[in-house]
Symmetry: D2
Subunit: 310 residues, 4 copies
């Protein structure tokens, strides 16, 4: 399936990157927080990581923040910390046709639970389930976990964190609403602090691919050490398919068919079960909030290399 001739494979990746460069002009860099606006709309990167090493094309030396990609990582930690029963008492398992920051369903759904852990409300609820005495304590655990996976000590971009904390009114609304309906436990501002921090963790595109590979390998590090249970990763992989790409997840499943999660910084992580981790970067977003070049590169990759799980 994968032409594991490195030179040939690199050429395919290079072509896919160049072929999709045109899309960036049709996208728009996220502007809802001042720091994100600084993203270079023309930047593009594509990294494929296999057990045997990485293949890198494009602007891969840049760091960017994880944003919503952090949701799959904290979900893993929460599942390991609390077990699925407790986690899914606070957050549902169903995809939703609503935008990622929507609040209406929290009011109109009988259970009041956020529909899934990939929408903002759900991810905030997941934050409240990470063990630790406060957000400082908890983010330390999150950083350590990600650092193990990417084999570098990752840190938080302080400007992005501050920016999100100051302007995150919608997320604050979601959190206080869930506090009111008793979906959220603990101190609201402390939970939000963790959420804003995890969104601001910085990685490179190559590190993104390593996260993808970690998922593809069902929770094993490159060195073979198991970090989380297989079932935890299977759960997260399922959410990546049904709701990883905001409310374009259904379309992405059809067009690419690779479990993936995107962030508004323009990053996408994807995992071809058992084979491959993929990272893409391109800050110009489509109207659903996904990297416009990233979505197209992944569809082309899936098509040319037969990576769809369907």
């Amino acid at each position: 399936m994968i032409p594991w001739n490195y030179t040939q494979f690199k050429q395919i990746a290079q072509n896919i990157l160049e072929d999709n460069r045109k899309w960036s002009a049709q996208g728009k860099v996220a502007d809802y927080i001042p720091e994100l606006k600084k993203g270079d709309p023309n930047a593009m990167a594509l990294v494929l990581a296999s057990r045997d090493g990485s293949l890198v094309v494009g602007d891969c030396d840049r760091l960017f923040t994880l944003q919503s990609i952090s949701k799959i990582l904290t979900l893993m930690i929460a599942l390991e910390d609390q077990g699925p029963a407790k986690v899914f008492f606070h957050v549902g398992k169903e995809p939703t046709g609503d935008p990622f920051n929507s609040i209406a369903k929290l009011e109109t759904t009988a259970t009041a639970r956020p529909l899934n852990p990939m929408i903002n409300a759900g991810a905030i609820a997941v934050c409240s389930l990470i063990k630790g005495k406060n957000s400082d304590d908890k983010i330390k655990r999150v950083l350590e976990f990600i650092s193990m996976v990417v084999e570098r000590e990752v840190t938080i971009n302080a400007e992005v964190y501050q920016s999100e904390k100051e302007t995150g009114h919608r997320n604050r609304a979601l959190a206080y609403f869930m506090k009111d309906t008793e979906v959220l436990e603990g101190d609201v501002e402390d939970v939000l602090d963790l959420y804003f921090k995890q969104c601001a963790i910085e990685v490179s595109c190559e590190e993104l691919a390593k996260i993808g590979l970690f998922i593809a390998k069902k929770g094993e590090l490159t060195n073979g050490r198991r970090m989380v249970q297989r079932d935890t990763v299977r759960l997260v992989t399922t959410f990546m398919v049904t709701c990883g790409m905001y409310n374009a997840s259904g379309e992405f499943a059809i067009n690419a068919g690779i479990p993936a999660k995107s962030g508004v910084s323009g990053a996408i992580v994807a995992a071809v079960p058992n084979y491959l981790g993929i990272g893409t970067y391109g800050p110009a977003l489509d109207e659903k909030g996904n990297s416009i070049s990233g979505v197209h590169m992944l569809a082309d990759l899936a098509d040319q290399l037969g990576l769809s799980i369907f």
Copy 2:
């Protein structure tokens, strides 16, 4: 219309109060904040205030908090401070079929404005329009205004205020949501502080009737001094009819037909244009959040004295 024979009139009021005593057993004292739970479910009071004096029956020596009744008073101040054009740029004029604390319409309505100033979201938006450098400054003006109307220096019930401030998660959600959509200006917590304070202002049932008379007289004090413009009061009176009784306003307009505003403390203020101010008290609430005995006393009064404006 009104049998302005005091003895006879008092007898009618007394009978109406006694006839409706039975309803309290079918209602429920508000329990969403600890302090409100302390209300005596069997307490009942009815006061009618005309230009010539007040008629009092029932437990009229108790003080209770204004809660949502404060919404009509701060709306008057905001209208005088900013003029209708600015006020209605931030809040709509239309009744809604949704509950008073609903958030869904803020998301699904194109303008993002709260539908009217009588629902919580609208009243919070109105708070942000009161002039003053912060909530302390603003609440001072609100207290002075109400003190002038009721001819006593009114104050805030500190326990109720603290209680609402600590547990007002839903109102916080509404406020942050409106901050996000730029409906709300200024510091969210400061605006909320004013909102929680105004809800906790204490009055007696007789003072409630004075507020009603002030509205019936289109903004004139008992001494004839004009406090606010006629148009301001006409506007507020209209909102009392279309949305003063939460989402039972339509039914109340049919059954009683008197402009009125209720609060979850069990108070209702009503104003028969040009004639009469009415205050009722009874902490047992119906399922829509209106005083169950109050609603029935007002319907009987309207029926027996022909007070409906329709």
Copy 3:
């Protein structure tokens, strides 16, 4: 209040009509059914009817269809036929912030009842409550009732009726939805047939004012004969205030303060309790579906003659 010097009064009405002629250019004739498109956007008429006779200015010889104005007339008949308890088992009493043809609330409201009889869903439910063995039988009763009120044998505009019947897909959706939730009894197509027919009844602007006067007089004909109970008319008048002008009812109550009901043909009927019936005509509609010149003429009339009930 009313300068019952006919010449002087006529001058006022004439001035108001001319002053508001400019608005028509900013409105738009309804185009959702082919027949309505034929309305002359520049036509304008204003009629005031008192116990002593009518005052007519503008293009008053035209006939137009009642459209939604029919809702208040069939509501009267249903209330007389079944009593309020049965009617309000099938339809609510509360205003709504949703558009007149909205279906979402039928699904999301616990009771499944349409919120009030002035929105399409509510009016269709009311149709099912009119006594008669089928729509032919029922429309005959409706026509007789209206003919008595306007003192002319009114008829249905067959083209408009056919047009609405063929293209009334949204109303059909509302009706079948209510059939599913058992709000609507009887044969759906028969109920809809009555609804489409009642909308297509033709009157003149002078006849509209007579309908308004009939309401102002609480159900008495010009000759003093009582047609419906006072309580029935009081109920209907209340709905005119809280939901008579689609989802601009709140704003109209503030600006004009006269109980009124509009139709998409460009007609508005208004009733100043005990005094005056008013008809306006002007097919150019504002974005909420109300006659743009009509709304402004009524606000000016209310302002200049002090007709607001608030």
Copy 4:
């Protein structure tokens, strides 16, 4: 992965069926149409079909109607008839958190399109895209298609069809709503007739498994003949994962991870890509409308045989 020792495999299937027999008592046979009520709540069947033959356990001689399972078959035909571009102009690709028969999103979503072809609104829209001059013509093509796949001439259960046609008010509401918003083309009653007919097509559990195998083999018949394009089946398979099990699809993807589609008759068809078709039958439904024993049998199968695609 699969212990292709027939005896051993049959034992596993038999055990799974018996282990899950207990669930039926906790479910409820569909009662929204009289004919479905006749289903035996204790009946259970499980069939696995591979390229080499079928394995059958339980009550497999019964026939039952396809109900919503027909949605994946008509979607295939519509995709082949019109191509994906035209199909997805009329219906979306995104999963939804709303119930299968919900109408609210049709009103509140900007595009007015049903969110996906697995909810009723979407499936009705798909019906309008099947080629043929009327519903008789179209259903003939649908029957022929299914007959080829299951290798028997399938027919319609006339009682179920009549029953659904007479009581399908909700589906009628959905269809007329979409006619109004121009999502649905053609004659509404004719489109609905096809929809009611396709739901009433009868198959056995073994035939269900053959349909599953046909999907697992990406559109090839047992004899190797290709009936539809691979891409068509890949698309349909994706929808089975993201929205095949009503609004329990996310949970089923986590618990079983096999592409599947259920019907309210108690049937579920599942397809393990390239390997296996599965049919389950058990008319007792859980609260989401899925066969309660079927859902559990599939989760156990996936677990014991490692069939999850995630």
